[in-house]
Subunit: 149 residues, 2 copies
């Protein structure tokens, strides 16, 4: 599987593994609302919601016009980059992970901006539905043909 | 995959497929609290939580000592059985699906007993964590070795 992943997806894999060690479960390519797609949404043991955007290069970061919109959909926001990335480009007031395909490390925690309760409920519900649907696609590929999502 | 599933799991597959047509996503073998394990927990578009127990035979039903405990963990409760099952054994005040490995049909809706909001939040969070963890196990089998769940 690893051979077929793009650079950003390899970073995402390492990040998801690392977050697991913090007791956070993650899903990739989550759409909190129409027009926004975050690389990783992670859900903590107490309902905490973190977003991690994976940037494989300077250009990948500089062409991202949407990241500030992600801040409204999480309690903490992080970038994940590899160790060659020029991290001085990244805004100070965001979290930072250094990652490779196998693991990651939290270098700087994203500051906490707690979600309002209704949005947290809505996001947790959407996260649950997204994860269960994708799980079902793996467990029972035949169901994709009859899916209505 | 189908060859390796037990009779109850084949019913569960058909049920999950059918629930999808009602816009419910499902996970199997969910543990709402220590000591309880439900065959299927399904999550609807508005946050509805349904439990379905799959019974492959009369004996399978008659040895179930725990099902009444499941009622406290869902808005609606259903049995799923195949068409040969003696459905007169099943309590009237529960829902009923007739299923096979490929699909199912809701014969009788389970009466609605709405969960209290805190329990719904707790269950939705647990459902999300369970589904995402199992999804991660499929997507990245290597992570199982470092999982702390």
């Amino acid at each position: 599987m690893i051979e077929t992943l793009k650079p950003g997806q390899l970073l995402a894999r390492g990040v998801c593994r690392h977050l697991r060690q913090h007791n956070f479960v993650s899903i990739e390519e989550f759409v909190p609302e129409r027009g926004l797609r975050v690389d990783i949404m992670a859900l903590g043991p107490k309902g905490e919601i973190w977003v991690v955007e994976c940037k494989s290069s300077r250009a990948d970061f500089q062409t991202d016009q949407k990241w500030q919109g992600y801040l409204d959909w999480c309690d903490r926001y992080f970038w994940a980059v590899d160790e060659a990335f020029p991290t001085e480009l990244l805004p100070d007031e965001t979290g930072l992970l250094i990652a490779d395909a196998y693991d990651a490390e939290i270098i700087r925690m994203g500051p906490e901006e707690k979600l309002a309760a209704p949005r947290r409920r809505q996001l947790t519900h959407k996260f649950a539905r997204h994860a269960a649907q994708r799980l079902l696609d793996f467990r029972d590929p035949g169901v994709a043909a009859i899916s209505v999502l």
